[in-house]
Symmetry: C2
Subunit: 143 residues, 2 copies
DNA sequence: ATGATTGCAAATGATTTGCATCATA
DNA sequence: TATGATGCAAATCATTTGCAATCAT
């Protein structure tokens, strides 16, 4: 319920800075991506919108996502054996851990992963993305 | 033109070892993946088959690819902003470099990339895949 | 008024599936 | 001749697109 005016200004300001006209739909979707969702699919965004922002069409979800990607406010993530695209509102350099049990994708700060490569100098690397797959140990209950 | 009997035995032996009935179509597709292609799409395999193995249907291409994946003879690779799945017949631990110019995906031996992570111990990592994106410098012509 | 966004429905395109046919042990 | 693979066509499903209606400036 933090859908108040100041939040809107913050979100719409970011959109404007990125050159995106801040419409109500775009603000709603971008806020959801930034504040509530964790690597959602387009479908999850649509489901959320059906509850919280009636009459936002699936086409607009996809259009908005692509506008945000174009504007460098969003990145898409494709995971092997998952049909749907995941959207990541964290655009700073980071990596991912995929929980094999839940399918959940977790952000891993880049400081926690050191990558050292010794490729032939013909390979000019601009970006590195590390995807770690595994299981998340249940946290033991205190007693 | 190395489509000779001994090759077939080698390929079909590997299929059998992995529990896959080595049919002519599967041998052809797997040989193509192992010896000729570099991370092809299903469509590329079909195009190749149309020239070299007439009457191999697209459904069989997909069925075979999925059988090979099930049998751990193949891995699928999904690259952001590319619609089609790439298939990787190199199943040993390695990484990838994606050439932004050509779209080509290049295998990088794991020895050339050192990954050190310091995640909380609740994260049990089973696999790490590193995708490096960048450009491949044109090799200067000798003179 | 104008230019951009939205929403609907139809289109697209990659992959999957149902089922009849075919091959092989 | 029985089990499973193949091939065709139809189905599926995520995503995209065309276009008319709508919104904001």
């Amino acid at each position: 319920m933090k859908q108040n005016g100041s939040d809107n200004k913050l979100i719409s300001g970011r959109l404007e800075t990125a050159g995106v006209i801040p419409t109500a739909q775009r603000i709603a979707i971008y806020r959801y991506l930034l504040c509530e969702a964790n690597h959602p699919t387009a479908e999850e965004i649509k489901t959320w919108a059906d509850k919280n922002f009636p009459k936002l069409s699936l086409a607009t979800v996809y259009n908005t996502l692509n506008v945000l990607i174009e504007a460098n406010l969003l990145k898409e993530v494709k995971v092997p054996h998952e049909a749907k695209i995941l959207y990541d509102s964290n655009i700073s350099y980071h990596h991912h851990f995929l929980d094999e049990d839940s399918g959940e994708l977790v952000d891993i700060p880049s400081e926690l992963v050191e990558v050292t490569s010794t490729l032939a100098k013909e390979f000019q690397v601009h970006d590195i993305q590390v995807l770690m797959r595994g299981k998340r140990q249940k946290t033991r209950t205190q007693h």
